[in-house]
Amino acid sequence: MAAWARSYRRMVAWDLADLRLYLPVLSAVLVLQGAGFVLGIGLLFSNMPESAALFLTTGAPVMNLVTAGLIFEPQLVAEQRIRGSYEFIQSLPVPRSASALAWYSVAQVIALPAVILTLLTGVVRYHLHLAVTPVIVPAVVLTCLTGVLIGLAVAHGVTAPMVANLVSVVMIFVMTGFSPVAFPASQLPGWLQTANQWLPFGSMAAIVRSALTNGALTNGALTTSVPRAYLVVGVWAVAAALVVAWAQGRRR
């Protein structure tokens, strides 16, 4: 266990050093994504209804949390594969779980400033009052961790760099446009509502939104309960972790 913890700490140091040229840029991209989305959608309305503003403001931070894991890691691994350095990283004597958790920690650090600034932007722009509960901590951790694990599964499971990048971008499109993250599930056609009961993004939004509004809002009518949302996200996290373990363990 001590050796695992040592490996984890050293891989965090490695990842932070590896990304030091890009960390501020990555954080800035997430701020632009979240705050930009919150402000940009507002331009569609002369007076945005408060309920819509609350949905938008509590959904955009979920995009930050997911994007940090889902986009950056596949792109980094794709670059390593193209440059040929992937095998050097894979040959380091580090438990895969320590390496994965180290990357989660770094992704969480990258995402957190964007989450806070996105929320502040929405609150100030639309004069909202959030009722944040302590449950926000496990909600944010589980959401970011699941995003990271799905990202790792794509990064290591899809060996063609271009395909891995495309898959992660498509997932971001699904999250943004076809999942009840920044709008209520009731706005979606029935089949997409059903699909989103099993996809992770709507459930991620439900648990984060619930924690930001003291349970007043989840992801709109016709959707399931917050405990079920935790279960769905948890299952995705476990499934993604299994794919990561398989992908990193497989040898041609």
Binding site: A3, R6, S7, R10, M11, A13, W14, A17, D18, L19, R20, L21, Y22, Q80, R83, G84, S85, E87, F88, I89, Q90, S91, L92, P93, V94, P95, G249, R251, R252
Partner: protein, 330 residues
């Protein structure tokens, strides 16, 4: 970490290792070899011979189709995590250190390999000194030349070496002076008791650095021994090298030529030293006829034995592209 193995503690052993890729290419075909602790063992062979495929199986990046790979009491095929602990690996590609300072990368790699901070920092400083990297000590990898990056990569994998260090073309892009420094460090690794498995095309340099070597061609181990033993049958021979003029056919070789191979525009021949005068006369006639531009007569080297075995030159520049066997070419 199971799987007892015969042989002394710390002995690396590959037994009948065969690797057939899904596309049917047989990259390794029944390769058996061993490396003792402290031994520097060279793997020589032309591009696509299967050298890189072999070392990727050692470090657990590929899985043999059949055969065993062991280090001391550890079965490296069954336990790739143990392989990563026991072996450190410098691949052909550059290490990913764009954001790292050179010394920082060396220290961090040593720490990731489980080294104590003070010992790793001390050793990193020794390596920076020994490889003459002082002026780039704190410079980020993104600004380093390919050769300096290569040296930093070498230091990263040897600052806290495993029991077996695997070096795949460590001198690529490195200038001649620092190549010598690198080979000296390879020797010192051996002197400290670490086994070294060295993949290289550079036969002339390998001759001075390795204790024993194997020549691999078309996935098979075709010769093995010490450098002296490998060239023993060339004792009493000379190398007569003839540079063929552009646009001219290779001239026929006289009967006293024992072996001839065309490498680029160079006709490399081996002759008995008693035939030196006749050889010079033949070379001068070829130059006089405009067929050749120049000739050189020298003592035979390991390279001549290598050329005889494989039909390829072992000089850098001839086939410096590496195995590049990610797709199965091995």
């Amino acid at each position: 970490m199971d799987g007892a193995v015969e042989g002394g503690d710390g002995l690396f052993r590959a037994d009948s290792v065969t690797k057939v890729y899904p596309n049917g290419i047989r990259a390794n075909d029944g390769i058996s070899l061993h490396v003792a602790p402290g031994e520097v063992y060279g793997l020589l062979g032309p591009n696509g011979a299967g050298k890189t495929t072999l070392v990727k199986q050692v470090i657990g990046l590929l899985k043999p189709t059949s055969g065993r790979i062991t280090l001391g009491g550890h079965d490296l095929v069954a336990d790739p995590a143990a392989a990563r602990q026991l072996c450190s690996y410098l691949p052909q590609a550059q290490v990913p250190i764009d954001s790292f300072g050179a010394r920082e990368a060396i220290v961090l790699c040593g720490r990731v390999r489980g080294g104590d901070r003070a010992a790793v920092e001390r050793r990193a400083d020794e390596l920076v000194e020994a490889l003459d990297l002082g002026e780039w000590r704190n410079k980020r990898g993104i600004g380093l030349s390919g050769g300096v990056k290569r040296l930093v990569g070498f230091a990263m994998v040897t600052v806290c070496p495993g029991r077996l260090v695997i070096l795949d073309e460590p001198t690529n892009d490195v200038d001649p002076l620092r190549r010598r420094m690198l080979w000296e460090q390879v020797r010192q690794l051996g002197d400290r008791g670490t086994g070294v498995l060295l993949v290289t095309h550079n036969v002339l340099e390998a001759e001075k650095a390795v204790d024993r070597l194997a020549v691999i061609d078309n996935g098979r181990l075709i010769a093995e021994g010490t450098p002296s033993a490998m060239k023993a049958h060339d004792r009493g021979n000379l190398r007569l090298q003839l540079m063929i003029a552009p646009g001219h056919d290779v001239p026929g070789t006289p009967p006293f030529v024992r072996h001839a191979a065309l490498v680029g525009r160079n006709l490399m021949t081996v002759i008995d030293e008693t035939d030196a005068a006749a050889g010079i006369t033949w070379a001068r006639e070829a130059i006089g006829a405009g067929v050749a531009e120049e000739y050189a007569l020298s003592a035979t080297s390991l390279e001549d034995a290598y050329i005889e075995l494989t039909g390829h030159s072992g000089q850098n520049g001839d086939d410096d592209g590496g195995d590049g066997d990610d797709g199965g070419g091995g």
